[in-house]
Amino acid sequence: MRQDGQTSLAAGFLGLPSARSVRGSLARKVSLALVSILVFTLLLAAFFAYYKFESVYSSLVQSRYSFVVFTVKKKVEDSLNLGLALRQLRQVQEIIEREKARDSQILSIQVYDAQGEVLFDTDRGAIGTFVGSGLVDAAKASSAQSFGATDDDMLIVGLPLVNTLGKVEGGILLRYPQAYVEHGVGGLLIQLSRTTAELLAVFSVLAVAGLYILFGRVSRKLGSMERTLGTVLSEGGQAVPEAGGDPFEERFAEFVTKSREATDHIREATEEIGRLDRLA
């Protein structure tokens, strides 16, 4: 906006703090909102990406180990079908020890009966102990599918042993360290966090810069309207919207003019009354 009259500090006239002191606070507010949204979005996206990876990765690991368990199960069940009792299958100990030797990540493989008593275990010291009732029930509940569980920092994958009668005779458990999965997905977590942080930094700056530009224009416009108002009211003249001024600015110019008109008119009226008053 441009004033026809002389310029002076409008703010002084209005008795307000300088417009400079509030400059940018609008942009600050909106920045806060936008950057929060950015943080939220990126964290959520990273979270989902990570968890998806984690679930695919751990289910892949689990399916591999359940395949190992399945191999053992087939061998054990074949022997069961020959009519031997589970606890008599001495060769099972050999089978599970061979499978464990193949993969250093396997912590233990154990075979237990329907009561949960461990009959064979790669950790021979554990033979004769009992597995938790949860695992016994899990084996009974899932007559064909593998089941998973966690135990402290170990992951467990198990399969039930089913005899010719279709009855669950016990189960096989394979334990592998949770740390194995954590190690596998840990790299991604670090990488994701780093990327997220970098992107957050860069785009926060961009967001803030963009908002300062956007609201800078708003605030310049407001400032210029404010100055015009002050000038016109304190010193007179006319507010003429700049070329390309929007309808609001035109209306504001009218307002300024009308205000000036009103103050002028009231002043004149006051003076006139004063004259009349003094005249008498």
């Binding site: 087939k74 079908n81 020959l82 009519g83 329907a114 949960g116 008593e117 010719t164 009668l165």
Partner: protein, 341 residues
């Protein structure tokens, strides 16, 4: 393996306590008393029956009696079982079962065991004998069958190779053989194969083993692609001749009995092992004793899983190799590899 498992018949009174390591549930539970009436001594079915209770940690007290194929002893068994007030009676074989438990339509029920629940095993034709139907005995007994249904046998043969003509050499004196051939023909009509049968010659009222080879050759000429060996005492005795002839003619053979495959030259077979049947029978006993299910509510059936036997030397000779899946499921008999079940 047979030798390892087959125990000597235990005669006289033998009380076996099978407490096992009883778990928390019922540590001081009184063992169930089961009266086991056997026909030919202690064999695999009885062993499977007993082992089931050990494996399941069910405390039982087994009172084992062997009739040693003497029908007369069975009357004493009935009296003894009643007097001992046992919880359950186990009967082995058709004779023991029918003599002790009575036919389902018996007119003099008092002379059999009626109040004590009973399970039977190794009864070849329970329907129409001890029970009216397989769904329910309609009384205080249940049990197991041990013959592989014909349909299953045919499926097994078909899974080895597709057949268009199935050959059978049979003993005309054995009525059951005829029944089996009729049944096979009916299934063949449904699933698209023919049955070519040849009866063994009978001389002086006895089947002539020497005629077997010729019959097999005849069937070969008739274009059969598989030889079916029915369960028949005579054929079982002459199994080496029969399977040998088939092998010579290059015909693969399927046997319903274990012996033809394990100790002779039949190519493969499908059987329910007695041990498994014994276990299943024990499972039904468990239902009655532990889970308190009424025997008449427990259907009479066979084990779910068949034992498939493949005679590898014969396979190699015929160069007719089994499908991988069958190979995975089967028990391989291969003396050269030292592999015997």
């Amino acid at each position: 393996m047979k030798g390892a498992l087959l125990r000597l018949a235990i005669l006289g009174l033998a009380v076996v306590m099978l407490a096992g390591n009883a778990v928390a549930a019922e540590p001081a539970a009184k063992p169930y008393r089961i009266y086991m009436a056997l026909w030919r001594g202690w064999e695999d079915a009885a062993q499977g029956f007993k082992d089931y209770f050990i494996n399941q940690n069910i405390p039982v007290e087994l009172i084992i009696r062997d009739a040693a194929q003497d029908k007369d002893k069975l009357k004493e068994f009935i009296a003894e079982a009643k007097q001992l007030k046992v919880d359950l009676v186990f009967t082995w074989g058709t004779t023991v079962t029918e003599e002790m438990l009575g036919r389902w339509d018996a007119s003099d029920p008092q002379s059999y065991i009626r109040d004590i629940p009973a399970v039977f095993a190794i009864v070849s034709q329970p329907v129409g004998g001890v029970v009216p139907s397989l769904e329910s005995s309609g009384r205080n007994i249940t049990g197991t069958t041990y013959l592989v249904p014909m349909e299953t046998q045919v499926n097994l043969i078909q899974s080895y190779r597709h057949i268009t003509r199935l050959g059978v050499v049979y003993n005309p004196l054995e009525r059951n053989s005829r029944v089996a051939i009729d049944e096979l023909s009916a299934i063949g009509a449904r699933s698209g194969f023919e049955v070519a049968s040849a009866a063994v010659e009978v001389v002086d009222g006895k089947p002539l083993a020497a005629s077997i080879a010729g019959k097999v050759a005849g069937l070969k000429a008739a274009g059969i692609d598989f030889l079916y060996i029915p369960p028949d005492t005579f054929l079982n005795v002459s199994r080496d001749i029969l399977t040998g002839a088939a092998l010579e003619q290059g015909i693969p053979s399927f046997a319903v009995g274990e012996n033809a495959v394990v100790t002779s030259k039949a190519m493969f077979g499908g059987v329910y092992r007695y041990y498994t049947v014994g276990q299943l029978t024990a499972y039904k006993a468990e239902q009655i004793l532990v889970h308190k299910i009424k025997p008449e509510a427990i259907p009479i059936d066979a084990p779910k899983r068949l034992s498939i036997l493949i005679n590898m030397p014969v396979v190699r000779h015929l160069k007719l190799y089994p499908p991988m899946k069958l190979l995975e499921l089967a028990e391989i008999i291969d003396p050269a590899e030292g592999k015997r079940p």
